[in-house]
């Protein structure tokens, strides 16, 4: 099949779970055993989506086989002559590939709105990263759907929830919500696939919010538990905080570029003309594969005063095209003109150009969204609480896919990030990985250990991307998705057996549930990155080593001999040790030693096949996903995830990027892997990583398996630190104090303002009007109106009485009156005549 089928295949793969969602929404409760109470529908939909993704992968391999491409290990990436992709022309638009990046297909499905030249649409952007993510999401989701059939089977009957006590003292009994669970899973799968497929950042945002709301539903699945509801609200609202940053980023992009599309698009206007619309990637890197340049739109936005001057200077009869030409002619000058404040540099070595700040705002803004979704410091607080959801959800949504979406987006948006933004990303990742790892040491809830471990690992990915390790970060995303979903499902299996999350009530379980125990051990080894150095290792070895190598080569670069760069590397290396320590602490506490709760131990049992088979499948992936075939197989030797990802590498990330403004340089990612650097970078880093991992494991073994050191004593010795960690660095308390209470206070204030001030004002006016009316009634009506009427009548009467005296009855008097009256009238008329017409 031609690649032109890809948008339709992947589109269909996205829509299948949506169809399943609506089907279950409408008919779910009526489906019987034959439909697996609805579970078969959802599982079938996601499995079919998985098949479609696999077909897409094959099509992709058929046309763009990874490896072998000459630029793969070149020191300086020059945009490869983009392979012919064939015009996948559909009614919706046309597919092409951005000249500025590797093979990719971009196009629109349909239009959301058009405002002059601005278009908002639902589209797709497909490259090897998209395909990888599709396969990853569908494989893990399918495993988890199967697993959930076993894990959630209690929900098929009436459920008594022992965590909810009603007012009358009984436990809550409710109908099971088995169908609803699968319905949410389907909606989530749709949203996640849509996010990955998205052809523009606006569509990413749309699906970003949709996965957020699915996460909300799934965290709050046990709606009767107040803790679950609060955790769900917290997750959504904290994510919204990040999303506001993302919207600000969107605004900066939209205001500056007028497009949200990643790749270049060609579409047909209403008047039938084909219009070529460059995407974001081409706009920020106009030279294919070249360095970042501030796009024209941002320059103009930033130089709006100068634009106004140009427009003012033109003849008023000038039409729009003329204005545009005049401005376009000045744009390069404005861009290079720099801002007041000195010759601090931008990319490309020139002085910081106009609009560069907007580019930074856009980058930071988009990254804010990623901070929320990927639970990075300082918005990490929601993820541990999100463990209130059922465990399959924690595995799928809160470790493998949704929370990795932030990392995915950073990877997708990589070409737009300036060095300043990359530094922020690296620092945030570094801080997060350390903080979360330390908290994980003291957690006693098995899922919370894994949650903090997830936060920490996501920090690794961010760190990797921030120091320029594009493949390192995304590879770690993929390997982490497998081993972390495995770990979560294993923990779910344990929880299923002992009905508690608390590791203090477990112990010795490996005898009762060996499959769970040993698959989980594989997961722990994978996340620790255990290997036979330079020979073979579990998947985590490959990805974590790459992260460390990139951080190391960042530190070793001649421009970066500063505290920050060292901090990034040493934190990451130290974090690797903590990771190994807390993972094995968890494993030992759960599976080794004497059972600490005999009752629970007695009832524990291995999970049914429907749950253990997914564990084994995921364990295989956790071991092998990062392997590459041995050399000597011809082109098949190139078939590895790393090489597949390399195809999507944003151009120019294989160049050293210097940032004069920061005085730092981002080394090209392949630098660390060059044969010449093998001894200076790869060897020390690999040994360091291996040693730290083993050191962590050894420490955990000494304390928790062998008991040479008593954990209680250590805790007492470091009681202050312990309390600090146990309370999760006091973040929740801090936020309550700094944000939640002030917001509530302002809310109460504004409500009171409404009642007291505004309504008080209105009511006061009404009251005073009323009073005034009463006074007026007394004064004006009785005194003035009535008074004057009566007075008038009285005076008329008096006047009449007086007038009686004129009636003398004597003719003489009357003649005098007539004469005087006539004279008076005559005088008056002549006076007014003179007044009017006299002139």
């Amino acid at each position: 099949m031609e690649p032109s089928a890809l948008p339709w295949l992947l589109g269909l793969a996205t829509l299948l779970p949506l169809a399943s969602f609506f089907f279950l929404l409408l008919f779910g409760p009526r489906l019987g055993k034959a439909w697996g109470d609805g579970a078969y529908v959802a599982t079938g939909a996601i499995a079919a989506a998985g098949v479609l993704s696999a077909i897409s992968l094959l099509i992709w391999l058929g046309h763009h086989f990874p490896g072998g491409e000459p630029e793969a290990h070149a020191a300086q990436a020059v945009s490869a002559p983009a392979p012919h992709t064939g015009a996948a022309d559909a009614a919706v638009g046309s597919d092409g590939h951005a000249a500025a990046s590797g093979p990719s297909y971009a196009g629109d499905y349909y239009l959301l709105g058009q405002f002059g030249k601005l278009r908002l649409s639902i589209g797709y952007y497909i490259d090897s990263l998209t395909i990888c993510m599709f396969c990853l999401v569908t494989v893990i989701a399918t495993c988890i759907h199967f697993y959930a059939m076993g894990y959630m089977h209690d929900e098929q009957r009436e459920v008594t929830d022992r965590e909810v006590t009603l007012r009358d003292g009984t436990y809550l009994t409710r109908r099971g919500r088995y169908v609803r669970f699968f319905q949410y899973l389907s909606l989530f799968s749709f949203s996640m696939l849509g996010l990955v497929l998205a052809g523009n950042i606006f569509m990413v945002f749309v699906f970003w919010e949709l996965v957020g709301i699915c996460s909300y539903f799934l965290i709050g699945f046990y709606i009767e538990r107040p803790s679950a509801c609060c955790a769900a609200n917290k997750a959504f609202i904290v994510n919204r905080v990040g999303d506001v940053g993302m919207i600000v980023g969107l605004m900066a992009l939209w205001g500056g570029l007028g497009t949200f599309a990643f790749g270049d698009l060609t579409h047909i206007d209403a008047d039938g003309a084909r219009r070529h619309e460059p995407g974001i990637f081409s706009l920020v890197r106009p030279v294919p594969g070249g360095p970042l340049r501030v796009p024209d739109g941002m320059v103009r936005l930033s130089a709006h005063r100068e634009v106004a001057q140009v427009v003012d200077g033109l003849d008023r009869q000038a039409d729009q095209a003329e204005i545009e030409r005049a401005i376009a002619a000045r744009v390069p000058q404005w861009r290079d003109g720099g801002q007041e404040g000195g010759p601090d540099g931008g990319p490309g070595g020139g002085p910081s150009p106009r609009g560069y700040a907007l580019l930074v705002v856009a980058g930071i803004g988009i990254f804010c969204g990623c901070v929320g979704k990927s639970a990075q410091f300082p918005l990490h607080v929601w993820l541990p609480d999100a463990m209130e959801g059922p465990t399959p959800v924690s595995a799928l949504v809160h470790s493998a896919t949704m929370v990795a979406a932030g990392v995915y987006l950073v990877g997708r948006f990589f070409p737009v990030f300036t060095p300043e933004v990359l530094l922020v990303i690296a620092l945030v990742g570094c801080l997060t990985l350390f903080m979360a790892a330390t908290i994980a040491i003291t957690a006693t809830d098995i899922k919370r250990v894994l949650a903090y471990s997830t936060v920490s690992q996501l920090g690794y990915m961010m760190l990797a991307l921030g120091v320029g390790g594009w493949v390192a970060g995304l590879l770690h995303l993929i390997t982490h998705a497998f081993f972390k979903s495995l770990l979560f499902l294993c923990s779910g299996s344990v929880i299923h057996a002992v009905h508690t999350n608390d590791m203090r009530l477990m112990g010795g379980l490996r005898k009762k549930m060996p499959i769970t125990a040993y698959t989980m051990l594989i997961g722990c080894l994978a996340i620790a990155g255990i290997s036979v150095p330079f020979v073979i290792g579990l998947s985590g070895y490959y990805s974590k080593d790459r992260v460390l190598e990139q951080a190391y080569s960042f530190m070793m670069h001649a421009d970066n001999r500063n505290f920050l760069a060292s901090l990034l590397f040493y934190t990451a290396a130290g974090g690797a040790m903590i990771t190994a320590f807390y993972m094995f602490r968890m494993w030992y506490l759960t599976f080794v030693g004497e059972p600490r709760d005999a009752d629970r131990y007695a009832h524990a049992h291995e999970s049914p096949r429907v749950m253990t088979v997914p564990l084994m499948i995921l364990a295989v992936f956790a071991v092998a996903v990062a392997w590459s075939p041995p050399g000597g197989l011809g082109r098949w030797s190139g078939l590895s995830v790393v090489n597949l990802l390399e195809q999507s590498r944003p151009p120019h990330t294989l160049a050293d990027v210097a940032s004069p403004g920061l005085g730092m340089t981002w080394p090209n990612e392949h630098f660390a892997h060059e044969p010449s650097q093998h001894a200076t970078i790869v060897v020390p880093v690999t040994w360091l990583a291996t040693l730290t991992a083993w050191a962590g494991i050894a420490l955990a073994t000494v304390i928790y398996a062998l008991g040479y050191i008593q954990a209680d004593e250590v805790r007492r010795y470091f009681s202050r630190t312990h309390r600090f960690l146990l309370n999760k660095w006091w973040f929740d308390e801090l936020y309550a104090l700094a944000f939640i209470r002030p917001v509530q206070a302002v809310a109460r204030l504004s409500a009171a303002l409404d009642r007291r001030l505004l309504d008080g004002l209105i009511d006061g006016v009404a009251r005073w009007t009323n009073r005034l009316a009463k006074v007026w009634d007394r004064v004006a009506d009785s005194l003035i109106v009535d008074g004057s009427l009566v007075g008038f009548a009285t005076s008329i009467y008096r006047f009449g009485v007086r007038l009686q005296r004129v009636q003398t009855g004597r003719l003489r008097d009357y003649v005098v009156y007539v004469a005087a009256g006539a004279l008076a009238i005559f005088v008056a008329i002549s006076f007014f005549r003179g007044f009017y017409w006299g002139g």
């Binding site: 405002f115 009603l166 538990r225 509801c229 959504f236 504004s750």
Partner: protein, 590 residues
Amino acid sequence: MVTTYLVLLSAIVFLPAVAAVLVLCVPKENVEASRRLTFGATVVVLALTILTFLTPLGGPFDYQTEAAAGMQYVFSVPWIPSFHIAYFMGADGISMPLVMLTAVICVLAAGASWSVTTHVKAYCVLFLLLETGMLGVFLALDFFLFYVFWEVVLLPMYFLIGVWGGPRREYAAIKFFLYTLAGSVLMLIAILMLYFASDLTDPALRPFLGKCYLPEAVQAQAEAGMTARAAGQTVAPLHTFNLLALAQIGQQTQQLGENLQWWAFLLLFIGFVIKLPSVPVHTWLPDAHVEAPTPISMILAAILLKMGGYGILRICYPICPHGGYDLALFVCVLGVVSMVYGAFAALAQKDFKRLVAYSSVSHMGYVVLGLGVWSATAGTAFNTDYWNMGVQGAMFQMIGHGISSAGMFFLVGVVYDRVHHRELDAFGGLFGRMPVYTALSIGIFFASLGLPGLCGFIGEILVVLSVWNYSYALAVISATVMILTAAYILWMIQRVYLGGEYKGPHGDALTPTTLRENAIGGVLFALTILFGVFPNTFLLRYVDKTVTRQVNDLAQWTRLVKEPAQQASVDGQAALEARVNVDLAKAQTP
């Protein structure tokens, strides 16, 4: 054709009034007949609007050709000739969607009116009169006629709140009435100002007379006046109430001076913004909503508020561009303040309906903001695209909020009918008791929250994105409102629907929703999805041409009259007239 439109639009507007007369003939005891007749009338009106606007029978509404930017379905017949008042109606991309919204919401509100059980006959009559008024407001193109319909809406609403409302209904009704009346009085002053300042015999208007759809006699009179003035004679001014003509006068001539436009804009704006409502003149809304019966709350939120937004878009900006340009920052700030303030106030409410009412204040702030962003200036090289997007976003927000707010008030009403209280803290656990109702509620409340895929999102995001090029600060503040919105909606959902058990009185009455209730909620929910997923197909393509034309005209006006700043505006106006003459000459040469 003109007579066809006369019949069609008059039928749409006055059919409810005719039905009201019929309801009067129904015996008072036959409550069911009155309700059915009312419901039937609203359905027929909806059918008529669909026939008129969406099927070939009435046109259909043109949204593709260039003519789509102008008025369609226009007719104009003299009504009170001595004051040049015409019975003048028409629809374009701005009014058509609002007419459709009115027709749809009235059907649903009439369906929800079965919960009204006292004085049903009188209720039905007033309900139908209300519908006539609302449809008339959106279709009238004569300022006087507009004002008449505007006032026609006021009285039935007053009685509907005051008679069928809750315990504090009289207070609420009087508050509503006085607030709105204050706005109407200001509007009336502005109308008279504009009327007496306008003069159709201005020769500068000649090229634009054709767009104004004057009645023939007036057209002839105007042309004669122009000829006479051109010949140097003094001609008595020919005043007009024609909204289209006033817009041309405001933009193309110097009759309405800067000062007059500024004041007229302000008066009209205050009048409309009271209706909208915007902080600080919004306090009638929570009271009116809390006291009004459910279907009236639906209409109030879904349609009456939109009359304010419609007025600003149709009247304030085109007729008084000077005011609009000078006060742009004021309007935008007012919008943002409403958004923030409404959201904060909603967060603190303890009454379910008051919370929804304050959410309306917050959401209508987006409308004000979207209409206000006058971002086509010299600094942006008069690029109208972002402003256009803001105005279309405001239009979408009006329709989207119309759907979601009607749904929210309906849902509150459903549960109020059962348990007779609205204390947010005395709910809980409805999820288990009323599953379908809860599903519909969560869907519709999420539309209000601005969840993508539902109608609330598109309006908000279009407005917010368009503000960036006007002001960074306002844009960022308006984006942060999203957090507050999520907070109050989610917290409300938690308190009402989630949790283990119902905590309030009358728990036994929490029966699952009836078919009628499900149908109304279901239609609204379906509409939120359709508008949210296909905004272009269902709304924006109809709006696009009209709004684009209006915004482009105003940008052109800005360029020639208001900017560049160093040249006096009168000079610019002269340039504009000169340019028009050049165009005319060009047009006449071949």
